[in-house]
Point group: C2
């Protein structure tokens, strides 16, 4: 069987409809027995030896001829998902039945289903590892990243609800000193550290001062609510001095987490902004932290490699990787969860 390129698709005649479309979900019917194949579908049929040539080109010539730099990554993902037992179509209206295309590259059907069943298993967007991805473009499907050695990493993205049961009442007016880039509370009530998990004891084995150190974010949150006796504006100004705009973003995400009754503590050891506890009884009785949270402006563009790093680390420590995307003051935080997926 031979095909020929016509207006960006590959036309194949003879028994193509039965052979490619009806039995294996390639392309879309043109009328009669003809089928139109996307270049990536035609390449896959050439690759398998199920199509002999396109305008005289075999597989090698066909892929060498593709000038679109995204073609090879898309082909590799297409072939990989086919190997994993899925039928999939380019996300364009001609190929789809009862499914609306969005910004993805491929619509992947559940195993055993095809283009005429109107069911979707995954919506997959393909990027090479050197491309960047807007944070706002994620959250509604699968990102397939093709690395420089042509290996594929699948990342599932969604917008989770953040919700905990760590409702904690605050003390008022705890004695507190603002130091250079942290604060110290002296003899605070149990509500602060033991019950609220605010701060870190300064005391060690060698001392029993009754002092708790707060991060600037903790101090700003508590000061704004009158829980500690320092001026909130002074704390925030200090925060901006040492962290710039990042301080306000982090404070907003911190506050959103606390309002959602989730306890945030520093994620520094994991290279993140926060680790979080959705349940918290007291410092003597709390479990494993469930999320790592990285705070980013909503205009952020990800390098896929940085995403891979965050997600891999979170996986390794059995936590979910969540990004807190912050827009203008007054807007809420957009939560973006990214996890590994094996299709």
């Amino acid at each position: 069987m031979d095909g020929h390129l016509d207006g960006g698709v590959v036309h194949v005649g003879q028994d193509a409809r039965q052979r490619y479309y009806d039995s294996r979900g390639y392309g879309y019917p043109l009328g009669g027995n003809d089928v139109a194949l996307a270049p990536v579908e035609a390449a896959h049929l050439l690759y398998r030896g199920d199509l002999d040539s396109v305008d005289g080109m075999e597989f090698r010539e066909f892929i060498r001829d593709a000038t679109d730099p995204g073609f090879m990554p898309r082909f590799l993902v297409y072939a990989d998902l086919r190997e994993r037992g899925f039928y999939l179509s380019p996300a364009k209206a001609d190929w789809l039945h009862g499914v609306e295309p969005d910004s993805e590259d491929f619509v992947v059907y559940p195993r055993g289903k095809g283009p005429t069943d109107g069911e979707v298993e995954y919506r997959v967007r393909v990027v090479g590892e050197r491309e960047t991805v807007d944070a706002v473009a994620l959250g509604d499907g699968v990102l397939a990243v093709v690395d420089e050695e042509s290996e594929i990493t699948y990342l599932d993205t969604d917008h989770p609800d953040i919700d905990g049961s760590a409702g904690i009442s605050l003390p008022t007016g705890v004695d507190c000193d603002l130091l250079a880039d942290r604060a110290t509370c002296w003899n605070p009530p149990a509500k602060l550290y033991e019950e609220g998990f605010y701060g870190t004891p300064l005391d060690g084995r060698d001392s029993d001062l009754g002092a708790i150190q707060l991060s600037l974010v903790e101090a700003a949150y508590l000061a704004t609510r009158g829980a500690v006796d320092v001026d909130p504006e002074t704390v925030c100004a200090r925060g901006r001095e040492v962290e710039g705009e990042r301080f306000d973003r982090r404070l907003r995400v911190y506050a959103a987490l606390r309002e959602a009754e989730v306890v945030p503590k520093t994620g520094f050891k994991f290279g993140a902004d926060f680790r979080t506890y959705a349940e918290f009884e007291s410092v003597d009785d709390f479990g494993h932290s469930e999320m790592l949270v990285r705070v980013l402006p909503i205009s952020h563009t990800f390098a896929p490699r940085d995403l891979a790093l965050d997600v891999r680390l979170a996986n390794g420590v059995r936590k979910e990787m969540v990004f807190g995307l912050v827009d203008r003051p007054g807007d809420g935080v957009t939560w973006l969860r990214v996890g590994r997926l094996t299709p």
Copy 2:
């Protein structure tokens, strides 16, 4: 006991020499029974209640009075190492015996030893998580990072020898097409992939084309050595087009690893440039990769949080985190290893 500040140190009289210096390694003797304490040492004695005041200030007033933003991080590290059973001194000539100070903050003696023994366990530099650290300043001691919640992460740094036993002979003139941002070799000899671990098979279960895909870095390395039949300059130009200067840095590190008989493969899934195998027999028989390598210009400054992320991830997958620092063309690669340390 009371002290008073004099020229940046705290003088204490009475039986201070016996009490602080001789028996517990604080400060240095001034003559008679007087001892000079660094502010951080005085703070620790105040904190323990072993010194009553300095110029009338107790611990709270003393630390509030410290204007140097690095004081609290240094105090926290000093107190932590004391708690861990070490004696340590500020890295300044007055405090040291038979030990030359370098750029570190503290000289830490082996457990059971003190300032007069002339032995060093660790040289510790202290930074807050918001400070940056020059890559060239690392490699010769311990970096103690104090995070915003006053927790400490110790990172050990050195310059490792990179050396493997994967000496691999190359084929010549393998048929190869340069595609957009990768290359494909057709029917290459076993020397390339099976014996050399260059490239990734394009073939899957569905195909037996005999094709291997190379990354641009692999293709450039092989082309330069005549192993594949594409023009090295064209490959490098393509690399620069898609990665900028980073391509040349990565190629230099790739080549340095191969010359050291270590096999580099992409580290994308770990968010790094390369993972490496020091021993490699064939693709049917190779072990666990030992290192993750990130390529950076030698002028790079680290954010401690990024370092924490890399080192934590490498630890989690039982690999060493190594940075390949690249200077001007012609200069060798400077290898910097960073690992976690529990003092």
